[in-house]
């Protein structure tokens, strides 16, 4: 447990050691701005809230978060440094969690840098800042879930591009499981199955949090999802480290 901060610190620093961090943050900020103002019709709606901003996060994360996650393990395997990491006196838990937390905090930093949105909307009107805070929390949890999936896929693939595509695909499944087009395909199924599939969806969970409703079940959903995918990552790392 004591070495977790060390791993965390190195990983976080390594994001900023390469241009990746800055490129990612700039792209994230530009895209979230574009989506909010053009696609979301931020001004036209005439409402002082950040719904158009947050409603695109799921789709934005679908492509951007796997890009942060893809290097977590694939790079270590490719360069061989995984042999070094795994022979240092640290546990699998420390390595997996340390890496994940670093990526998650990095995503959090990118998210916090969208604060001008909050400033703008507060300048223009009188939004409910509690809802905005809840939505930020939800968005960060969402990023965490995407990252945990991405971390597992990165451990599976030696190649970063494959890791990226795999995690986009899996994340996509988790998003669309709440959309009518998927649920309609289950029309034959009993209601409980439809509910179960729908309850897996990021979209529905995230929507309710971003409306300001922090339901313990939604929080638990994201936390469980993260823990489960990280556990899977640890198993995969153990199984595939030699390959």
């Amino acid at each position: 447990m004591s070495q977790l901060p060390v791993i965390f610190k190195r990983e976080l620093a390594s994001y900023f050691a390469t241009p990746l961090a800055y490129v990612f943050i700039v792209i994230f900020l530009v895209l979230s701005g574009v989506f909010t103002f053009y696609l979301g019709g931020f001004y036209e709606r005439g409402q002082a809230d950040l719904t158009p901003f947050f409603s695109f996060h799921t789709w934005l994360y679908l492509f951007l978060v796997p890009a942060i996650a893809m290097r977590l393990w694939a790079e270590e395997r490719k360069s061989g440094s995984i042999e070094l990491l795994m022979t240092l006196p640290i546990t699998r838990f420390e390595a997996v969690t340390g890496k994940f937390l670093a990526a998650w905090v990095f995503a959090g930093i990118a998210l916090l840098l969208t604060f001008p949105m909050v400033v703008t909307v507060n300048y223009l009107g009188e939004p409910d800042n509690g809802v905005i805070a809840a939505a930020y929390l939800g968005s960060w949890l969402l990023a965490g879930a995407f990252l945990a999936i991405g971390s597992c896929m990165s451990a599976l693939a030696k190649n970063q591009v494959i890791a990226f595509i795999l995690s986009v695909a899996v994340c996509f499944l988790f998003i669309v499981s709440g959309l009518p087009m998927v649920l309609d395909a289950f029309a034959w199924a009993p209601q409980w199955l439809i509910d179960a599939v729908a309850s897996l969806s990021f979209l529905i969970r995230f929507d309710s949090i971003s409306k300001g409703v922090i339901d313990l079940r939604d929080l638990l959903y994201f936390v469980t999802l993260i823990v489960a995918w990280l556990a899977a990552t640890a198993v995969v790392v153990d199984l595939k480290k030699a390959a």
Binding site: Q3, S81, L84
Partner: protein
């Protein structure tokens, strides 16, 4: 080696490092080990100082203790000049030294080095070997190598493993004495040599003609020293011998025989 360091799990059996079982007490065993993986992989985007400090922290050193450890390791492998450079910009020799510094940083009792001199130029090889010999005074150093001259140069015990099986275990000298060239004498002369007379000497197992003209190698029977007899014959016949060489044994030949599974 990968099993000893806890990277791979053995398919059967186990081992222990200073009393710590590698499977049930992996962390304790890993604390005792300094390990240089093959090719010395590092985090290329980190600076040498940053990387070594990271390793020191993982090994549980903090503050002044950490700085002192890093400095000591850096001094031992002479990395002072490149401390601020990122590792990916370093030459192969320097990278290997960073890997070595990383392995000796916590003053481990057991040092495991996978191909420590592979791909280095002769100067760098010499440096690394000297370093290993210096470290071996108070540590157990295990190296793997494909360079057999290195075995003679630095090792006190050599083990040959082929196909996952132990095929030989002994001092380099013992291994050499398993060679048919052990105690063999090679002669080079300006005039033709009488190989029949040489072969008739006591203790001689046979005579091999070499490709060079007027050059031959006299093989000794196991356990026999034949140099005095040959020397006597040379002075008796008055041969002009320009080169005379007593062989210790050819390790590469022993190695080839062992790993091909042929009986010696």
């Amino acid at each position: 080696m990968k099993m000893l360091t806890g990277f791979l799990a053995p398919s059967s059996g186990t081992a222990s490092i200073l009393g710590h079982d590698i499977q049930s007490q992996t962390l304790q065993a890993q604390r005792q080990i300094g390990y240089l993986p093959e090719g010395a992989p590092c985090y290329g985007d980190m600076t040498v100082r940053g990387f070594l400090e990271f390793i020191a922290e993982v090994r549980g050193f903090r503050g002044a203790d950490k700085r002192q450890r890093v400095e000591a390791a850096v001094a031992q492998v002479e990395l002072e000049k490149v401390l601020g450079q990122s590792i990916e910009t370093l030459s192969k020799g320097f990278k290997r030294r960073v890997g070595l510094a990383q392995a000796i940083l916590h003053d481990p009792k057991v040092l495991i080095l996978d191909e420590p001199t592979d791909g280095l130029d002769p100067n760098q090889k010499h440096q690394v070997r000297q370093l290993i010999q210096g470290l071996a005074h108070d540590k157990i150093v295990i190296i793997s190598t494909h360079i057999l001259e290195e075995v003679t140069a630095v090792c006190t015990r050599a083990v040959v493993i082929a196909g996952g099986k132990l095929v030989a275990d002994g001092t380099p000298l013992e291994l050499e004495s398993r060679s048919k060239y052990h105690q063999a004498v090679t002669l080079v002369s300006d005039n033709p040599l009488d190989d029949i007379a040489l072969a008739a000497l006591p203790g001689v197992a046979g005579v091999e003609l070499n490709e060079r003209e007027n050059s031959l190698t006299v093989l000794a029977q196991p356990g026999q020293v034949i140099f005095p007899q040959i020397n006597a014959l040379i002075s008796q016949r008055g041969w002009v011998v320009t080169e005379l060489d007593v062989e210790r044994g050819r390790l590469d030949e022993v190695f080839r025989t062992l790993t091909r599974g042929e009986a010696l």
